[in-house]
Amino acid sequence: MRQRVIDILNQFRGDVDFDKAEGIITKKLINSIDISEFIPALEDEFDIEIGMEYMENENFDTVDAIVSMIEEIQEG
């Protein structure tokens, strides 16, 4: 799952090593316009719906945080 998330992120910024990156949102590695495309891409890839309750920086700031969020949504 981790690699799939990284692959999606790399579609927006191929020049960033997201595997180790921290501050994907807070350090503006991807901007808010990228996020608006990144979230639907995640939803399609993992067949989930990311509600507004998850729209917090900490849920998107590292790949690990994104993976945890997806797992939480999948568990319901």
Partner: protein, 528 residues
């Protein structure tokens, strides 16, 4: 009572004395009482019940939403753990909560919209019913309560966060009221979030000498920006934008001075209130981050009025982007259109909706609508054309870390901002057209160097003072990028430190625009 007046300083001193005499656990109560007094003194007494009623409505909505979520959690906890059962319950309760949310938001945002557009409604209805003897809507209903755009947005943000379960319901209404009415932020922001200001106000508010001293230093700097620069320039800019035709060069002065004025006015206000709040141990959210160092217009709006931009991003842009209709549209466009067109749709619609609302938040006339469209279009274009610009810059050899290239980009951003101001500041689109016409067809550049500008409410000495003050603010901004200037001051020798503080203090006293002869200009952002 203006916050750049002696009565405000006396009010602050009295509040500070009572605040620190009181035991720590009652100090938030002192802030609440002081905030209520402040709101009544600064505005009209009638504004207070309107404000409290709005706070009650929002708090009531939050209370009801919280109750439903608690019921939902209890049912899920005591259920059989089946996933479809859980999802069914969540869906059912979400629907109930949404109903409360919509009703509450309709009430508070509806009031804001009504008050903002009441003037137009009144004109329309008066015309329709031929009201020759007066207005259709009673005059008292056309008065906009002080700070309503700011506190409504703060409270609406809190309610949405409770609905999205990003925020806990505040059980104590008086605590919630303090968050909404807290005097340093009620009139002109920052548009605070409950998870920031609400948390700050719940801390143990203890005396800390350094923090109080830094707060006072920040206030002096704010007074310097407002009284020495902004209010002086306001006199010049107002006399140029008087609806009459002047030479293009005089209008160029006005454009430049107006940009400096709005920055020093608004950021000066923020420094004063942030400093005042710091005296009580409460940190306000940052609203400015040296916007004129921005290289793009998108970056500019991340650094200018940060809390407003953040509010629109989180509560308008993201919900629109992630709405099911928008997602369907994106999927459809990805399937049927080339990538560039599909990306255009993804970016364009939410950005334009957000910026039209941003424009209408700033004002209700056509100039503000065009202002919103102006920024929306520029931001869409800069995002969509970013890859093209990157390639062009590479080909031309412009490097991102080049000093001169970045200087050019900052100047370009400043010009774009000045263009936006030109849409709203001269007073109507007709005047905007006239100003632009004069700049491009009747510049008369020699007027930049003769005495022409001194016919517009400013003397040669005053202009020199303002230019030196602007230079000082620029110097401080450069230092602020390296860290806290107050802490840098602390590290200086006692004599140097106090010499700088006294110099700033006396600069305000000697060069500031104040006193019985002058009516300090209202802060520009107060009207919103």
């Amino acid at each position: 009572m203006s916050i750049v007046s002696l009565p405000f300083l006396i009010f602050l001193l009295v509040t500070m004395t009572v605040f620190y005499i009181c035991p720590v656990k009652f100090r938030w109560g002192v802030l609440l009482a002081a905030s209520i007094c402040f709101y009544v003194i600064v505005g009209k007494w009638i504004f207070l019940p309107v404000m409290i009623a709005e706070a009650l409505i929002v708090w009531g909505g939050s209370f009801l939403i919280d109750r439903r979520y608690r019921a939902q959690d209890w049912i899920i906890k005591n259920g059989d753990g089946d996933k479809s059962f859980k999802n069914g319950i969540k869906k059912k309760y979400k629907k109930k909560c949404r109903r409360i949310l919509v009703l509450t938001l309709t009430a508070v945002i509806g009031l804001l919209v009504f008050l903002k557009f009441a003037r137009y409604l009144d004109e329309f209805l008066s015309g329709l019913f031929d009201m020759t003897n007066g207005s259709f809507i009673r005059a008292e209903m056309l008065i906009i309560p002080l700070g309503i755009s700011y506190y409504t947005f703060s409270m609406a943000g809190y309610l949405l966060d409770v609905y999205w379960r990003r925020e806990e319901h505040e059980r104590n209404f008086l605590r919630f009221l303090l968050f909404a009415i807290y005097f340093p932020h009620i009139i002109q922001g920052p548009i605070s979030r409950y998870n920031e200001l609400g948390v700050e106000l719940k801390k143990e508010l203890r005396y800390e000498r350094t923090r109080v001293a830094h707060g006072m230093q920040l206030m002096i700097y704010g007074f310097f920006k407002k009284l020495v620069i902004a209010d002086r320039l306001n006199m010049v800019v107002s006399s140029i934008y008087d609806g009459r035709v002047h030479s293009g060069s005089i209008f160029v002065f006005a454009v430049f001075f107006d940009v400096v004025q709005i920055y020093t006015d608004f950021s000066g206000y923020m420094d004063i209130v942030t400093g005042a709040s710091q005296i009580f141990g409460v940190t306000l959210e940052k609203n400015f981050d040296h916007p004129f160092f921005s290289k793009t217009v998108t970056e500019f709006w991340r650094r200018w009025h940060i809390t407003l931009g953040g509010w629109f991003r989180d509560y308008v842009y993201m919900p629109v982007t992630l709405s099911s209709k928008m997602k369907k549209l994106n999927k459809f466009s990805k399937k049927h259109f080339p990538q560039a067109v599909s990306r255009f749709i993804t970016v364009f619609i939410p950005v334009m909706i957000t910026w039209i609302f941003m424009g209408l938040w700033h004002g209700t006339g056509m100039p503000y609508l065009i202002w919103g469209l102006y920024y929306g279009t520029l931001i869409c274009l800069s995002e969509l054309l970013a890859p093209f610009f990157r390639k062009t810059n590479e080909k031309l050899g412009f490097r991102d870390d080049s000093f001169f290239f970045n200087l050019f980009r900052m100047a370009r951003t400043g010009l774009i901002f000045a263009g936006g101001r030109l849409l709203t500041r001269p007073g109507g689109l007709k005047n905007t057209k006239m100003v632009l016409g004069q700049i491009f067809t009747d510049l008369r550049p020699w007027k930049f160097f003769d005495d022409s500008i001194f016919y517009y409410n400013i003397s040669s000495r005053q202009l020199n003072v303002v230019l030196l003050a602007i230079l000082a603010v620029w110097g401080v901004s450069m230092l602020q990028r390296k860290g806290s200037v107050c802490e840098m001051l602390d590290r200086q020798h006692l004599i140097v430190r106090w010499a700088i503080i006294y110099a700033a203090f006396f600069a305000v006293l000697i060069f500031g625009v104040y006193g019985p002869k002058f009516d300090p200009a209202s802060f520009i952002y107060m009207q919103y």
